[in-house]
Symmetry: C2
Subunit: 175 residues, 2 copies
Amino acid sequence: MKATEMKALIVSADMFEDSELLFPYYRLLEEKIETDIASIKTGTIIGKHGYKVIAALSLKQINPSSYDLVILPGGKAPSVLRRNEKLLALIRDFFEKGKAVAAICHGPQILVSAGVLSGRKATCYRNVAKELKDAGCHYSDQKVVVDGNLITSRIPADLPEFMREIMKKVKKEPD
Amino acid sequence: MKATEMKALIVSADMFEDSELLFPYYRLLEEKIETDIASIKTGTIIGKHGYKVIAALSLKQINPSSYDLVILPGGKAPSVLRRNEKLLALIRDFFEKGKAVAAICHGPQILVSAGVLSGRKATCYRNVAKELKDAGCHYSDQKVVVDGNLITSRIPADLPEFMREIMKKVKKEPD
């Protein structure tokens, strides 16, 4: 599959970390990859820094099989999203099928709630590290951790490395 | 020259449009391109949305011949930067040598003050359009306009197309 035939999904909500949503979104569009933004309900979501983004889809409307990649930005959004059963089911489906899942900052909280991190290698924002370890995850404090289908990073300053690894998956380059 | 042998310069100041600085910066770092951020003086500069970035260099310290690409983000920063003679001389030098100059939103105001837009094709934020036309520029309302070494865009939502064209220059791909 060519990169331009892929379809990506970004899932977030109000109080997202602006750069962690905008950089992946613009980057995927630069690559001409069709990218949907979904939230709990459709409409405008507002970032911590005031950027507004339109969620054209609600999680209820999402068919996981339509997407090849899901990205979970950080901020305060994941603390709400982690209670959304539709999203947790989507994440489990992606893991079962080995499809790419990328999460940054507080985004990995959603993966904890989905129960997919046991025995997996990952990183996250430092305040979330204990949660990951308690979930059986092999946590390490690195800019980016790639473990099979799973790509995780810690903070906005890691975005160059985070997107570099995501683009390798998109372009099917070797790790 | 390989992309990773290039060196890029981003010039901005307080009240920069955050995404217009952060997206190009992270994107160039993703590509492993050495990228400096310069401002009127060294130190932290703060964007309109509150993002903080360190300008490691002042414009006085800059040697234009060290760089292959300069990017001018928008926001309110260009209204101050356009009065900086060191920056205007750098821009003229880049145009004389045919090196890549990319400006978005209010960034092209700096190009007006440098006197480099007469007879050139460009775009900018809509409130700046009259200034460009008055400077003899062939303005058009498009997501991105490429005219030789010059790449311009209008707003943050144009960033995917803006960076796509910048990366073509970096990678020496045909237009």
